[in-house]
Subunit: 419 residues, 2 copies
């Protein structure tokens, strides 16, 4: 029996990396005053069908009929859930609302290059403030997030754009706003699409690809000026690049849009986001007409990037080394003292130590081997010396005999920190 294609088993060594990732996601968000929320994994499929929330996501929906005859879907992203939740209770919260989520999402994508069908996503959203000061908070958070993994300005950049510049462009070329979504979707895919295919798709708009490319390379985005000034004041200007080529695929963005992308190796997008000032009103039939800005990061690309950048990899390695399964191992040298070992294990564990011992009779040498395999810093030999025990520091075999009743205090003074 195997996992379904596109799904992952996270063995403990994989989960340790996830713990590292989600720990830094949460720490960074909280440093910006964001608080965590979560919604259901399963929602009414209707939530994703409502005007403006869909885009290409709809075609990849894990959708089915439940035993109560409801059309339901595994969430493909968290923003519609956020919008629903904020719309239902926003009067209870002072604005702006700063919420983040770490949650699993599902997309039935065609199997290619190991694309996942279940993935973990980190979302940060700031709701109730339409100014560029809010945009700056969210972009700065994303920058600090990537920096916390040991990534620097030579490793990633944030490409910033603003849909208002594109709306001006479309007005200039006589395209109606109703078709803006469709048009921007083509621009979004342009970099990866064959020239002829793009020409074909652009034909109904009557705008040649060359005109678009010229606009991207020479156009200005004046709407970004306050955002850039704000990031400059924070010392983060070096991380961002105005770039009209970024439009983002999702239909619901209304203003600033941005994309973090890797500057080394395969130039992937690492994260993306933007302003969606109308989504909440649309999803709540006008009940909650609140502007919002946010971004999302997936786990897979970030883990891949960490693997490629030595500074990031070594930061991760030192975290993983600092989190061994055990801190203390009780070596039972004499089975007649097993009860004493059990009592001591209990006492140390209640104090907060991660403690192991053999479940059955084993040779002392084998027990020391287990202690080292499980990463314990200290072994405590329980045997003839009882009520005294011998403590051994495994790094240098430094040894000391002491009363078992004073062990917890001794460890706190000499050992690794309590978890």
């Amino acid at each position: 029996m195997k996992t379904l294609p596109g799904f992952r088993d996270l063995f403990p060594e994989d989960f340790a990396r996830r713990r590292y990732l989600t720990g830094l996601w949460r720490d960074t968000a909280r440093r910006y005053g964001f608080v965590e929320f979560d919604g259901p994994t399963l929602e009414s499929a209707e939530l994703y069908r409502k005007k403006n929330s869909g885009g290409e996501i709809l075609g990849q929906l894990y959708e089915f009929t439940d035993k109560g005859d409801r059309t339901v879907a595994l969430r493909p992203e968290v923003t519609p859930t956020l919008a629903r939740m904020v719309a239902s209770k926003h009067r209870d919260y002072p604005k702006p609302i700063r919420w983040f989520n770490v949650g699993t999402c599902f997309r039935y994508e065609r199997q290619q290059r190991g694309r996942l069908r279940e993935f973990l996503q980190f979302n940060c959203d700031l709701v109730g403030d339409a100014t560029s000061a809010a945009d700056a908070e969210v972009v700065a958070l994303l920058i600090d997030l990537l920096r916390s993994f040991g990534l620097g300005p030579e490793d990633f950049a944030i490409r910033l754009s603003d849909r208002s510049a594109w709306h001006d462009f479309l007005t200039l070329h006589g395209v109606e706003h109703d078709h803006a979504g469709e048009f921007l979707n083509i621009v979004d895919k342009m970099e990866k699409m064959p020239f002829e295919k793009t020409e074909e798709l652009l034909a109904p708009f009557g705008i040649p690809q060359a005109t678009i490319q010229e606009f991207i390379s020479t156009g200005r985005i004046p709407a970004l000026d306050p955002l850039l000034a704000d990031l400059e004041a924070r010392g983060l200007r070096a991380y961002v690049r105005p770039d009209l080529g970024v439009v983002r695929g999702l239909a619901y963005y209304t203003g600033v849009v941005f994309e973090a992308f890797a500057l080394q190796g395969n130039l992937r997008a690492i994260a993306g986001g933007g302003r969606y000032d109308r989504l909440l009103a649309d999803l709540s039939d006008g009940l909650a007409d609140l502007p919002a800005v946010g971004f999302g990061v997936g786990d897979a690309v970030l883990l891949e990037l960490i693997n490629e950048i030595p500074a990031a990899k070594s930061l991760e390695a030192s975290y993983l080394k600092s989190e061994p399964p055990l801190q203390v191992y009780l070596v039972i040298a004499d089975e007649s003292h097993r009860s004493n070992a059990l009592a001591l294990a209990q006492q140390l564990r209640v104090t907060g130590w991660r403690v192991g011992f053999p479940l059955g009779q084993e040779k002392v040498g084998k027990q020391f081997g287990t202690a080292e395999t499980l990463g314990a810093s200290h072994a405590v030999v329980i045997g003839a010396e009882w009520p005294n025990v011998k403590v051994k520091r495994l790094s240098d075999r430094m040894e000391q005999e002491l009363d078992h009743a004073t062990l917890a205090i001794w460890l706190e003074e000499h050992g690794a920190a309590v978890s």
Copy 2:
């Protein structure tokens, strides 16, 4: 738009409780040397249909056909996934394997008394050791887990039983082992079922209910003796009660079974588990023939219990109070210093502080109000005194003026701890 029936929105105040719960779940498991794993949310439905893994769970499966024509199911429990993972890679890990999981599970139950269709579950499993020393580790972990929430021996007890005692009983009454599962399912439901209904179900076995009840009240469980002695040595004997009435509903248990239940108010089951020595072999077609013991706890009952027990509630309250959204709030008294405030916010956040400030021009009094609402311990007034700032401790309005460059150090010495 609402959640589907049986699904929950976790607003930040709800998520804070979840964080408290999962934090203690993880801490306790790690003190016992358990490491975290996770599997996919969606599995092949076949995994739950395989011999012995099902029971009543099968009727409540969230099952559907995906776009690739596979019969898939949202996981109703994690044990079959664990068994699949261990079977596929157990040679890579020294035995015993100690793994835990915090994961969301799904059951399509009839809507009653707020039963949930998506719930969070904590599972701990010890694989590769068939002795009662392993049983004791897992039962002790469960006891320490409940104690970590401030629950004492007057609040809960662990009822311990062993299916071997029931197998002896069945042999004595001439019932074949193949029918043991069916029989034990009736015993499991007996407490809640009308007398006549039970009689009817027992008829094919030819054992009157009175005989069963007499066995439950007078029968001995000698197989439990070593487990009880082990728990006695740990000082945990007062938390457990041998009780043949506990048999557990799941078909795959083979030896010791146990249930934590509340001693106050509504006498609910809080957690349950047991030994399943054949499940891994069954699920892996004999590839991994490993004994195992484990338990699961759901979030809903535990949260309910905390609400009812004052000592547990006050422990939770002090945790929730210790985790406010903000630690420091920058009051911008003069808009011309906004850039300085931004730079200072950046500096403090990178140091690890949770920092907020107003995104637009606001009256100073309102800013102080926001600082208090968001739980900041200190407000830092940025204005005419720049490069100096005024730091106010909000609990007693103690005020001090200092150079902004020394603020981070000053806060570390005088303020709340860095997150």
